[in-house]
C-alpha cells in the first residue's frame, strides 16, 4: 500500500439528492466512487489524485433494474452480479449478461457497477460493446435535472465523456426490441478470468428475406474508447451476407480500427483478431445453402 488514506477525504451521503447537492456545491472538486474496483487500485498504488471523494455505494436510488413494456432501466449503481441474476437481462440481453460474467472475478462482480464501468471509460471496458449494439441510452442527472443521450455519443476521447462536473450517470436504458436479432459477443484476453480484453467484439443484426435490415457492430480495444464500427456496418446494411460481403466487412474493419500497441497486445494482433471476430459472426448469418 503506497497510498495514504489520510491524504483523501471520503463522504457517504447515502441518498441521491444529497450526493447531487454535494457535487453541485463545488463542481469538479468531488470524485464519485462506487464499487471502488478502479479507484481503490489507484489508491493502493499511490496514484489516486482525487483529494475529495463521494461514495455512491449504498445509495438505493442508483441500484435498481426495472422492466417496462418497451425498455429496461438499469440504475448506474447496479453491480455486474445484479445483472447476471436478473432474468430479463439474461433472457433478452444475453450479450450484457455474458459481458458481466467477464468482469474480473466473482469478488469484483459483487462490487463493480455498470455505471462505474462506463464512466471510467476504459477502451477495453467489458460492458461497452454489448450496450452499444443494444442501442442503449444513458440518463444523466444533476440538481439541474435529467437529460438523456445515446450511449454511442457518451465517450468523446480516451477516458473522456460528456458528463458535466456536477452530473452523475443515473441510469442505462435498453430498448426491448432485440428478440429477433442475431447476436454475437466474444472477448479475447490472456485467460478466462481476471484478464483485460486484448480485443472484444459484439454485434446484433436483424436479417429478413436474406437481407440485413439492421446491424450494429461494436468493439473494445480497437479505438481510444469503446465505439461502434460504422464502416463495417455500412458494408452490410441492406445487403445479403455472402462470402464476398464478409471479405468487404473484414477490409472495412481493418481500415476503421485504430488499435494501439500496449502491454496487453499489439495493434496488428488486435486488428487481425477483430477481423476474425466479425467474420465469425457473419458466417453464422450466411444462409445454409450458400455457405462456403
Amino acid at each position: 500500500m503506497r497510498g495514504d488514506a489520510e491524504a483523501h477525504h471520503l463522504v457517504a451521503p447515502g441518498n441521491l439528492a444529497q450526493a447531487l447537492e454535494t457535487l453541485s456545491s463545488a463542481p469538479g472538486e468531488w470524485t464519485p466512487i462506487a464499487g471502488g474496483t478502479e479507484l481503490m487500485v489507484a489508491h493502493a498504488a499511490g496514484k489516486l489524485t482525487a483529494a475529495k471523494l463521494i461514495s455512491l455505494w449504498g445509495i438505493p436510488e442508483l441500484r435498481f433494474i426495472e422492466s417496462s413494456t418497451d425498455s429496461i432501466a438499469i440504475g448506474a449503481g447496479s453491480t455486474f452480479r445484479d445483472l447476471r441474476l436478473q432474468r430479463d437481462i439474461t433472457s433478452e440481453f444475453p450479450l450484457l449478461a455474458e459481458a458481466s460474467s467477464w468482469i474480473g472475478s466473482i469478488a469484483n462482480q459483487s462490487r463493480a457497477t455498470l455505471g462505474g464501468n462506463l464512466v471510467n471509460g476504459s477502451p477495453a471496458a467489458d460492458s461497452s460493446p454489448a450496450l452499444l449494439v443494444y442501442d442503449a441510452d444513458l440518463e444523466l442527472m444533476s440538481v439541474r435535472g435529467k437529460r438523456r443521450i445515446a450511449y454511442s455519443a457518451f465517450h468523446t476521447g480516451y477516458k473522456r465523456n460528456v458528463l458535466a462536473p456536477d452530473e452523475l450517470l443515473y441510469a442505462i436504458h435498453l430498448p426491448r426490441r432485440f428478440g429477433k436479432h442475431r447476436q454475437y459477443i466474444r472477448k479475447v484476453g490472456t485467460r478466462r478470468a481476471m484478464a483485460i480484453a486484448k480485443v472484444a467484439l459484439a454485434a446484433t443484426a436483424l436479417v429478413e428475406d436474406e437481407t440485413v435490415r439492421e446491424i450494429r457492430v461494436a468493439a473494445a480495444s480497437l479505438a481510444p474508447f469503446p465505439t461502434r464500427l460504422a464502416q463495417v456496418e455500412g458494408e452490410l446494411l441492406g445487403r445479403a451476407v455472402t462470402p464476398e460481403r464478409i471479405q468487404a466487412a473484414r477490409r472495412a474493419l481493418l481500415v476503421e480500427a485504430k488499435p494501439i500497441d500496449d502491454i496487453r497486445s499489439t495493434a496488428e494482433y488486435r486488428r487481425r483478431v477483430g477481423a476474425n471476430l466479425i467474420e465469425e459472426f457473419l458466417r453464422q448469418l450466411i444462409p445454409k445453402d450458400t455457405a462456403a
Binding site: 471520503l10 457517504a12 493502493a44 469478488a107
Partner: protein
Amino acid sequence: MSALRPAIQLIVNGEESVVHVPPMKRLLDVLREDLHLTGTKEGCGEGECGSCSVRMNGDLVNSCLIPVLQADGAEIETVEGLARDGKMSRLQEAFLQCGGAQCGICTPGMLMAATHLLANHPTPSMAQIREGLAGNLCRCTGFIRIFESVVAAHAGTADDRGAADAR
C-alpha cells in the same frame, strides 16, 4: 492535514466493533491493523489475486478494494470466523486432508471464496468451482488439490460439519 476519523461500525464474525480511522483506509488494513485479524492477507493489493477475500453482507469481496467507510454497518466474515469452538469447518478439514494448502498465503482467501461458493451452490459443478475460485491465485498447488478440497467438503468425504453449515 489529517482526514476526519468518523466512527465506523463493523460486525466482524458476529462481533460488533467501532473503529475511528480515516474513511479511505482499506477494509483490509482495518481488519489487520485495528482489529488485529491478520488471517486476511494482502497479495497484489489491486483486486487481482483474491488473497484478501472476505464476505461482506453475504457478498464475496476483495477487502483491499473497499474504503472502510463503505463497510460502515456491514457484517464481515473473515477466515477467523470459519472455525467454531476450536473446531475447523468441514471445508478447512478438506483443505488439510486434500493438500489444498501449501505455503498458505492464498489459503484464507481461497477458504472464503470456497465458503461463499458453497453457500450459494451447496453441490457445485467443476465449472462452478473453477469460476468461483477464478479470482484467487495460488502459486503452489496448481489448483487441482484446491478443487479437490472443495469437492471433498461438499461430498462429505471430509469430516466435521456439513457444507450448509460452512457459511
